[in-house]
């Protein structure tokens, strides 16, 4: 194995390797920051170009795109509250409020730095711990997926800090929307209103753009006269250094988020979106000032971005060791590997060791490029938000239309996006926020698939209850869910007590 390390180190510093990584990361960032275009799409489009290159170069480029795109999603998340890729959903929670406070550059720098750190940690774990972690990944069966989704849903309790009831209602609505389409078993088709396009259910990106973006645009239009004053925010100097210093004082936050991201990435089917959300939730729980989350603090952005880039490394663990992709972009990589005649598994590390290790090492390089590009680009991206509303608003609507169309070349998706946008705007006025709804839509299908399969397994084994409640990973997840769901209540009690104490003094 050590011989491979040496070869790999030599390979990645070759000029064409560096160029490919840089090119891939740049392309990835551009695609990632456009809502509607995902890392998966970007990689799939570029796979044919990799035929003309040899395997290593193709993989280096695809890896760069993956890394860049997952980072790129934060740019639109911060500037216009629309996650450029689903991994950046949690970045909107604090990223956009920061931008509204005039601190967009702070948010962007935080995202770049956190993404870089997360990505590097994820890659280290990929390099060192793959075999062990792959075995853990396999232990995730249908009951574990169900409880993982339930755990994800408890995050609603954290997100809906102002009105728990509305948050829960939003989550339930999301669950309901997630059931649209084919059932996992039995071929029932639900709530499609006779439209065959809905057999597949609602594309999550359509809902993301609709619920997150359109209401903001409409609000922007409502407040357009006031915004002209905001646009005069001057760019400050030395933001990057200040932010980095602050983040380095919280190594625990970055480390924890990265570990969460890597681990979530290892579980096939759980992608960057879930990684970001869980990490955000944990950041709130571990924080000494949890109430500040959501108002625009860099810790929120750091938690989400570190974990979603760590997830990249994590998703490659089951891919390279088992041939099971950890997420959709990894599935494209699988296709690319197979087309080059490389079978994932131990064979990859032995027979194709030089290629595999070069690829993994190239991820380090790609993450560094991404970090640097992000840090330097931050102040330019941040200026975008200073555009006057009359240009910004139609531009965003334009991007929403082209983005929702690009998913599967279907005008219905564009109509759905607008429909959700209007619904989201309306529910906003009623006090229901988009986060819990989208959470329900993403986690509902995962929970349902897990539930149905587990029930079938349970029936065969004779006891459904024991299947759901007695497996070790399930137990861990159940405990995590309970803690996460009840945390806000303990929080409130503790704060009330402290409030009483300070009052008395």
């Amino acid at each position: 194995m050590a011989e491979f390390f040496l070869t790999a180190l030599q390979n990645i510093f070759l000029p064409h390797s560096l160029l490919l990584a840089l090119g891939g990361v740049t392309a990835g960032i551009i695609i990632g920051c456009l809502p509607g275009l995902t890392a998966t799409m970007a990689m799939a489009v570029l796979v044919p170009f990799t035929f003309t290159m040899n395997a290593v170069n193709g993989l280096i480029m695809l890896g760069g795109i993956y890394v860049g795109a997952i980072y790129g999603g934060c740019i639109s998340a911060i500037l216009v509250n629309t996650p450029g890729t689903p991994s950046a959903i949690a970045t909107t929670f604090d990223g956009f409020p920061l931008a509204k406070k005039g601190m967009a550059e702070h948010a962007l720098v935080t995202a770049a730095f956190a993404s870089g750190v997360g990505g590097l940690i994820g890659t280290v774990i990929l390099l060192v711990l793959s075999p062990i972690l792959a075995a853990v990944a396999l232990k995730f069966g249908p009951p574990e997926y169900f409880w993982l989704a339930v755990f994800g849903l408890t995050i609603i309790a954290t997100l809906a800090s102002d009105s728990i009831l509305k948050g829960l209602l939003g989550g339930a609505l999301g669950l309901l929307l997630g059931t649209i389409g084919m059932a996992p078993l039995g071929g029932d088709v639900r709530y499609t209103f006779g439209l065959p396009e809905l057999q597949a259910g609602i594309e999550i990106i359509v809902a993301l753009i609709g619920f997150f973006c359109i209401p903001e645009v409409l609000l922007m239009i409502e407040n357009r006269l006031e915004r002209y004053k905001l646009a005069q925010v001057k760019t400050q100097k030395g933001v990057a250094l200040k932010v980095i210093k602050e983040l380095l004082q919280k190594p625990g936050l970055l480390l924890r988020s990265s570990l969460i991201g890597t681990f979530v990435g290892i579980v096939p089917g759980a992608g960057g979106n879930i990684a970001g959300l869980i990490s955000y939730n944990e950041a709130v729980r571990f924080s000494k000032q949890p109430e500040k989350f959501g108002t625009g603090i860099i810790e929120g952005v750091a938690a989400s971005e570190a974990s979603n880039n760590a997830e990249v490394g994590g998703s490659l663990v089951p891919l390279l060791t088992l041939g099971i992709p950890g997420g959709p972009p990894a599935a494209v990589l699988l296709g690319a590997l197979l087309l080059q005649g490389m079978r994932p598994g131990p064979e990859l590390y032995v027979n194709f060791g030089d290629i595999t290790y070069t690829f993994i090492f190239s991820l380090f390089i790609s993450n560094i490029f991404m970090l640097v590009l992000g840090l330097y680009g931050a102040r330019y991206f941040a200026r975008l938000i200073n555009l006057p509303v009359n240009y910004l608003a139609p531009f965003i609507v334009f991007l929403s239309v082209i983005g929702s169309y690009a998913i599967r070349n279907n005008m219905l998706d564009v109509w759905l996006m607008l429909f959700f946008g209007l619904v989201g705007y309306f529910t906003r006025k009623l006090g229901l926020h988009a986060g819990p709804i989208v959470l329900g839509m993403i986690l509902g299908p995962i929970a349902e698939n897990g539930y149905v399969q587990a029930v079938l397994m349970g029936r065969a084994a004779g006891s459904t209850v024991s299947l759901f409640f007695t497996r070790p990973i399930s137990i861990v997840l159940i405990i995590l869910s309970l803690v996460s769901a009840l945390w806000p209540f303990f929080q409130r009690k503790r704060r009330q007590k402290e409030g009483v104490n300070t009052h008395v003094e």
Binding site: M41, A183, L185, V389, N390
Partner: protein, 145 residues
């Protein structure tokens, strides 16, 4: 009497009931989630309604409702017209029109010219990126095929 809690409660109560009704013919395993989700929606809506009596937040007002409505209608028209005039042309029209309308200094030819330049620039630029670099076929419109 009508605050955000009660309004949300009523609306989603109805939606939940409709959803539950829509799930009536589903098989046991195929319908468990739709039914559970509908019931959760109904349950939380009822709780909200009950809670609204204690005085919830008022419904957030829409500032400048006419502007918002016009933009919504223009967006609907935009999407509706794309299959006819094609993505490129419709986008140019939409962006230019809205950019001009929202401009508080919209009088005078300068404003109109700036709006059109923005519309053309953005539309062409992104059309090129999507069509040629990303190979995403965008609707060409009935007249141009």
């Amino acid at each position: 009497m009508w605050n955000s809690d009660s309004l949300a409660g009523i609306i989603f109560l109805i939606i939940g009931l409709l959803a539950l009704y829509g799930a009536r013919e589903l098989s046991h395993l195929g319908g468990v989630f739709p039914r559970t989700a509908s019931m959760l929606v109904i349950f939380f809506s009822l709780l909200l309604l009950i809670n609204s009596g204690r005085g919830g937040k008022p419904v957030e007002k829409v500032k400048d409702p006419w502007y918002v409505i016009i933009i919504i209608i223009l967006a609907i028209l935009y999407i509706a017209i794309i299959p006819y005039l094609g993505f490129l042309l419709t986008s140019i029209i939409f962006i230019s029109l809205v950019a001009w309308m929202l401009n508080s200094n919209r009088h005078g030819s300068r404003a109109i010219i700036m709006a059109i330049i923005t519309g053309v620039g953005i539309s062409f630029g992104f059309y090129a990126v999507f069509s040629y670099i990303l190979a995403v076929p965008l609707p060409a419109g009935v007249f141009f095929q």
